[in-house]
């Protein structure tokens, strides 16, 4: 054994610089200001419990009076999600190729594709739904178009990232033997990025299913409008049926996509 004192080692915490300290303080102050700005109140929160209890009481038991209408609306919701995702994914692939730095035919196309994807992604799907309701009218077509645009923004970004990260070895090999850029994308890039594509597409379907419920609130089809009407007319038992139906649909889609993911990947 030795009597040597163990070295002190580095300090457990580094003292922040004055700038970093000021930034932390500013963030903390803004959080407090935001609590005030959003009217957060523990009193109101706990005071709302009896009201929530009454609401739940009126929801039970869920009504089965309009099950057929709810079923049709649920099917329409899933159809919107499915068509919106499939079409959105199909359009996303070429857009993502243009948005992939080493695959794009021209830098200007790269920047244009990136800008388009960023624009589609940053504008919420509810806003797209409002715009399409104005342009194509009320109904599921407007909601489907909103989902297509949202999927292009979502999948376009992730597909492009997957293609940029794909192993360059096979791509270099095909370039070296004289393959065209289109062949290189089809034969080397897409197969390498396929697991990521499948994952993103299935996640998109799950996301689209949840979104398509909300789109109905602005008249863009789906079960959302049924929920809004039931709540507006104080038919809480019918609203409970709709909420349970939405829950069942979302869980079913998530389970199905899990199974598909395991089978394909």
């Amino acid at each position: 054994m030795t009597d040597r004192a163990s070295p002190a080692g580095p300090p457990r915490f580094e003292r922040p610089s004055l700038g970093a300290f000021a930034a932390y303080l500013a963030i903390a102050l803004f959080f407090v200001y935001s609590l005030h700005g959003t009217g957060v109140s523990l009193g109101d929160f706990f005071g709302g419990f009896p009201q929530m209890g009454r609401l739940i009481g009126e929801m039970l038991p869920p009504s089965t009076a309009r099950l057929d209408a709810v079923g049709r609306a649920l099917l329409e919701t899933f159809q919107m999600a499915f068509v919106g995702t499939v079409v959105g994914v199909l359009i996303s692939v070429p857009v993502a190729v243009l948005a992939t730095r080493h695959l794009t035919p021209h830098p200007a196309l790269y920047h244009a594709a990136r800008a388009l994807i960023a624009f589609f992604r940053t504008v919420p799907d509810l806003v797209w739904a409002l715009l399409f309701v104005v342009s194509v009218g009320l109904g599921p077509f407007a909601g489907t178009l909103a989902l297509v645009v949202d999927k292009i923004g979502f999948c376009g970004r992730f597909f492009a990232e997957a293609m940029e990260e794909a192993d360059r070895g096979p791509q270099e090999a095909l370039s070296a033997i004289g393959a065209s850029k289109l062949s290189l994308v089809v034969c080397a890039v897409i197969p390498a990025a396929l697991p990521s594509f499948v994952n993103t597409a299935l996640f998109s379907l799950e996301k689209a299913t949840r979104s398509s419920v909300i789109l109905g609130l602005v008249g863009a089809g789906g079960i959302g409008i049924e929920l809004k009407v039931a709540m507006d007319l104080f038919n809480y038992d019918e609203a409970a049926t709709i909420i349970l139906a939405i829950f069942a649909l979302v869980v079913a889609v998530e389970r199905a996509s899990d199974v598909l993911r395991r089978r394909i990947l």
Partner: protein, 276 residues
């Protein structure tokens, strides 16, 4: 120190250890398949990777490029095919001036040159057969052999024949990422054969293989090249391979050719001295 200044290309020896004499005559040796003149390339200013490289390779010759890591071997091969653009110098490949080729002509020319990489660079999720079919991409305009399921019958049969030539026809349906390192490299060679190449360029084709697989791949190369009468340039750190499977050895050091001699006149000790 250079053992010998770059010498004129040597005639191939009659019999190299480990290989039979080449049956393809060098009658066309007056028309070199590759001529490199004054090739220069730097990735950083003032640090040349290739510093005025001159050599030529006659039709039917097998040439080994050797040199320590960073000597410029891989860069030289890539510059020859314009996978990397050289800073200066001329490359004539199969009689064509590489610098003057537009993108389409370049792709067409590359289609005549089988390139085999150290890590085979197969597409992992695709079958061995589909990977071999990719060798026909440059010469297939309408029916693109992207996948074996949609390839024309004639191409499919040709690809199977190429796999047969490397002894892997039974593995045609297996995914490339399920093959061993040696099998993968043999599929990469089959892909190169599918190109119907006039020249094969191999960048350390056995570096990632165990010794026995490496020997097997080199024997396969030697046999194919002998039978087909192809020209071949390969890089290797295995000096015994350079002597056994090449007609001629070119050594690079810091981007300059420091040795260019017939393999028959060399031994491993002589080549090893170049690495000191």
């Amino acid at each position: 120190m250079a053992l010998q200044a770059a010498a004129p290309p040597a005639a191939p020896r009659a019999v190299a250890p480990g290989r039979a004499p080449r049956t393809a005559p060098l009658a066309a040796a007056d028309a070199p398949d590759l001529v490199v003149r004054g090739l220069r390339k730097s990735f950083e200013p003032g640090v040349p990777v290739l510093d005025g490289v001159d050599f030529s390779v006659s039709r039917g010759q097998a040439v080994a490029l050797i040199g320590a890591n960073g000597a410029g071997k891989s860069t030289l091969l890539r510059c020859c095919l314009r996978l990397i653009e050289p800073d200066a110098g001329d490359v004539r490949l199969l009689g064509r001036d590489m610098a003057g080729l537009d993108a389409r002509s370049l792709r067409r020319l590359r289609g005549e040159i089988g390139f085999v990489f150290q890590k085979h660079n197969l597409v992992p999720r695709l079958s061995a057969l589909t990977n071999v079919l990719h060798g026909a991409l440059p010469r297939s305009r309408l029916a693109r052999p992207w996948f074996q399921s949609c390839a024309p019958r004639a191409l499919r049969e040709e690809a199977l024949a190429c796999l047969d030539r490397v002894g892997l026809v039974d593995a045609a349906a297996r995914r490339a990422d399920k093959l061993s390192g040696g099998q993968s490299q043999r599929v990469a060679i089959a892909r190169a054969l599918m190109q119907r190449p006039r020249l094969i360029v191999a960048d350390e084709p056995v570096a990632s293989l165990d010794p026995s697989s490496g020997e097997e791949v080199m024997r396969l190369f030697a046999g194919l090249i002998r039978r087909e009468g192809l020209t071949m340039i390969f890089t290797s750190h295995d000096l015994s391979h350079a002597i056994a499977y090449a007609d001629r050895v070119i050594a690079l050091r810091r981007g300059v050719i420091v040795l260019d001699r017939a393999a028959a006149d060399l031994d491993v000790a002589t080549l090893r001295a170049l690495y000191d």
